[in-house]
Symmetry: C2
Subunit: 229 residues, 2 copies
């Protein structure tokens, strides 16, 4: 339909970062097709947050796709491996899910092709992150080059854009951006190892990054942490 907005496929985990990335897509005038993957993550409560965020952002469609990555094993987020609580260390942590963002972007690409969309938004950032290889600029560039040759649109000379608007932001920047966009961070979920009563544990890497972001931004943190550091 002439004049209807372009569609952006937005990866929505239920976390703060993907909420802000999706809101930035909306701010730029895209209609949101939000994609959440139920990959048997131990923090499945984030799926509920993803549904809240999709609704709050007025997403045109929201697909929660089941994909049991625990069949492959190898991550504290899908296996019986303890989530580290001692703070962010050097190297790639056990919470790394093998090739997760490659898989998620591939699924976004599949939906983009089927829906005739040429834009994908992902909330990765390479500043305050856990050191995962698939959150770095080199990864996003390589995926963009793949998308150009992997798809019908690419072959026909149109091509995809993979947007990572948070790539150079600190967590404090992201918290400030959420405030600027009028978002409720309380809808989002970050914790890898939820405590009883739908509380953030307060000790995993993801909780530490989240809490520090609010402190550094000088903004009130609505998160209910089971343990305060």
């Amino acid at each position: 339909m002439a004049g209807s907005p372009s569609i952006a496929i937005t990866l929505l985990s239920g976390g703060l970062d993907s909420m802000v990335a999706a809101a930035l897509a909306r701010e730029r005038g895209f209609a949101l097709f939000a994609l959440t993957v139920d990959y048997s993550q131990r923090h499945r409560v984030e799926l509920e947050s993803a549904a809240w965020v999709a609704a709050a952002l007025g997403a045109e469609r929201h697909v929660i796709l089941s994909l049991d990555l625990s069949a492959f094993g190898g991550s504290a987020l899908t296996d019986d491996i303890a989530v580290p609580k001692e703070g962010i260390g050097p190297g790639i942590p056990v919470t790394y899910v093998p090739a997760r963002n490659t898989v998620f972007l591939s699924l976004a690409l599949a939906w983009a092709e089927a829906a005739g969309a040429l834009d994908i938004f992902i909330g990765v950032n390479a500043v305050d992150y856990s050191g995962y290889p698939d959150c770095r600029p080199a990864f996003l560039e390589a995926f963009g080059r793949l998308a150009a040759v992997a798809t019908k649109a690419g072959v026909e000379g149109r091509g995809f854009a993979v947007h990572a608007p948070l790539l150079e932001m600190s967590k404090a920047d992201i918290v400030r951006e959420a405030a600027r966009l009028g978002l409720d961070p309380g809808l989002s979920w970050s914790c890898y190892d939820p405590a009883p009563g739908r509380r953030h544990c307060g000790e995993c890497d993801s909780c530490r990054l989240r809490a520090r972001g609010f402190v550094e931004a000088g903004l009130a943190d609505p998160t209910d942490y089971a343990a305060a550091l």
Copy 2:
């Protein structure tokens, strides 16, 4: 364990091509971790063939992963769109599943990382094929470059090899290779639109390519086609 064979993740659709590709991996001394995706394809009978092939090849593991690509739509293989029967035409046909091989290779990459494997086998070929963009050498090269930056192994300087041993083979070559390897092509399934009684339709692109391969190779075709062309 010292002396144990290296693992290859082998994408196994249940078709003739992936059967031959996996057998070539085995011939080269790899232990086979076979990966089949149940993507709500209308030719679900191929999943049964995949299990037969995995058993016949002595695969160490066989995972059939459910992934409902019909949530995205856009293909005759997952939607209520008729499978073309009039022969192979120019352009990309409606049986193209958006970004399918990108998704499948990403899943293989995830398993490879989790299992500590550095080799992936895929049975694509760019000679007798249906014109899908994700069966071309440029696609495989781009995926290889992505894998090098997307993964822990890549960051640590090891790196993945994506093997497509059939890439330059005609379907007749593949049929001859199956015979050389002592495989039973009757275990494999090619048809996109199965006829009642577990018969190949004989008219879809995939059946036409299969049947022509046996004729051109001068070898007996064990396939039961509902319609002979």
